[in-house]
Each structure stands twice: as structure tokens, then as C-alpha cells.
């Protein structure tokens, strides 16, 4: 699956995009975020407060219980500030 990070999530994690295999036992966004937190201090810091993390799967906003599967594009980013 493809993972995308924007704005300060990108800065904290240190990369804009990465490809990972769907980790064993992960079936939804919440599980994926738990797994990502274990990948290093940058991830743990970026994902510490989910109140300020938005998630899109295949370019649609979703909640933490949304399923993830191989091939998905999962994006994590802060609340938007355009306009």
C-alpha cells in the first residue's frame, strides 16, 4: 500500500511518501496507525494526538474504523488550512 504524509506530519515523519506491505493483523486505519507509531520516534510524535490527524483512503476522508487493504492509498495529514 502507498502511504502519504502532508504538512507537519510529513515534517515529523521525515518523508512524504512510502510504500509498505499491509502489516500482518492490520485491517483498519486505527490498526495501521498503531503499527506506524512503532516504526520510530518521528512517527510516534506525528501520530501522538489523533484529534489533529485526518485520514483519507483512496482520496476520500475516512474514520479510524475504515478498512485498509493491499493497494490502498492512505494519506495522513493535519486539519486543512487552505482558502
Amino acid at each position: 500500500m502507498k502511504l502519504l504524509y502532508f504538512a507537519w506530519l510529513r515534517t515529523k515523519i521525515g518523508t512524504a511518501e512510502e510504500s509498505v506491505d499491509l502489516p500482518a493483523g492490520v485491517s483498519d486505519v486505527g490498526g495501521l496507525i498503531d503499527w506506524l507509531r512503532g516504526r520510530g520516534p518521528g512517527y510516534a510524535d506525528a501520530l501522538a494526538n489523533l484529534a489533529v490527524v485526518k485520514v483519507a483512503v483512496n482520496q476520500e476522508y475516512v474514520g479510524l474504523d475504515h478498512p485498509v487493504k493491499p493497494g490502498d492509498e492512505v494519506a495522513l495529514f493535519p486539519p486543512v488550512t487552505g482558502g
Binding site: A7, Q59, E60, A75, P78, T81, G82, G83
Partner: protein
């Protein structure tokens, strides 16, 4: 019915002129232009850089535009949003709605910018004397968008 994300500035007169040209059913055209202010949260801001999520941004803008057209009788709509580095006084966004009736044009234009601000994946990073700073989302923007939730 057009949505564009671009680095270049836009020509307001040309954009609005094209929106109504040849359609004499249109009685009113409301537009909003957002500009970079030199003050934000009390600190002087030199410039800002706008980042977006290519692909999802366009999808979200189109979805917002579709929702506006479902709610109001609109003859034409336009959203142009810039990305990249912008300085104080630069234009950021243009939203325009044309309708037979001015009330629909006003409501729809107001709706589009309010929803864009909370739903379209853009992020601003300001240059401040203390270094770059990601702009926080504003609760007033959430409140403005929430007014339109009832549909």
C-alpha cells in the same frame, strides 16, 4: 463548472468575464478572492507556502462544487486555488458563482469558500521571524462550515 489548482496568479476580470459570457439567463455573479495578509495571529508574516494533496484536492473541490449546484440553481461556478510560495497581497483563491438570482449566487459562493476551507486538502506554512510555522486550522472556519451542514 470548473476547478483548477495552479502555481500562477489568475486574472480576475478574465475569469469572471468568461464565466458569464454568452449566458443571458445570469442575473448575478458573486465572487470571493482570498489574499495573503501580512499579519496572522499577531506576528508579522513575510510569505507563505501552500502545499496540497494532488488528486484528492481536485476531487474534493469538485465534490464541493457539485454539492453547491445541488443546493442552488447555478448557471456557472469556478474555483481557482493557488499553490507554492505566495507573498503578502498575493491572491490565493478565487471562488465565483453565477445564477439568475443574486441570493443563490451569494449563498453558493459563501458556501463554497466555507467548505473549501475545511474540506479541501491544502496546508499553509508561514515564514515568520521565528522561522517557518505550519498554520493551525481555525475553529471559526469550522463554525463557518458547520452553518451549511444541515443541507
Amino acid at each position: 463548472m470548473a476547478v483548477r489548482v495552479q502555481r500562477e496568479d489568475f486574472d480576475i476580470g478574465a475569469e469572471l468575464g468568461a464565466l458569464t459570457r454568452g449566458n443571458t439567463r445570469i442575473g448575478g455573479l458573486t465572487s470571493f478572492v482570498g489574499l495573503v495578509r501580512d499579519m496572522a495571529g499577531g506576528d508579522a508574516v513575510g510569505a507563505m507556502t501552500l502545499e496540497h494533496y494532488p488528486g484528492m484536492t481536485e476531487r474534493q473541490l469538485e465534490a464541493i462544487e457539485t454539492e453547491a449546484r445541488r443546493r442552488w440553481p447555478l448557471d456557472a461556478t469556478l474555483i481557482v486555488h493557488r499553490i507554492g510560495r505566495l507573498e503578502p497581497g498575493d491572491r490565493i483563491v478565487l471562488v465565483a458563482c453565477a445564477s439568475a438570482h443574486r441570493e443563490a449566487a451569494f449563498q453558493a459562493c459563501h458556501f463554497l469558500i466555507d467548505w473549501l476551507k475545511t474540506k479541501a486538502p491544502f496546508w499553509k506554512q508561514e515564514e515568520t521571524p521565528a522561522g517557518p510555522r505550519w498554520v493551525d486550522a481555525k475553529s471559526t472556519d469550522d463554525d463557518a462550515a458547520a452553518r451549511w451542514e444541515r443541507g
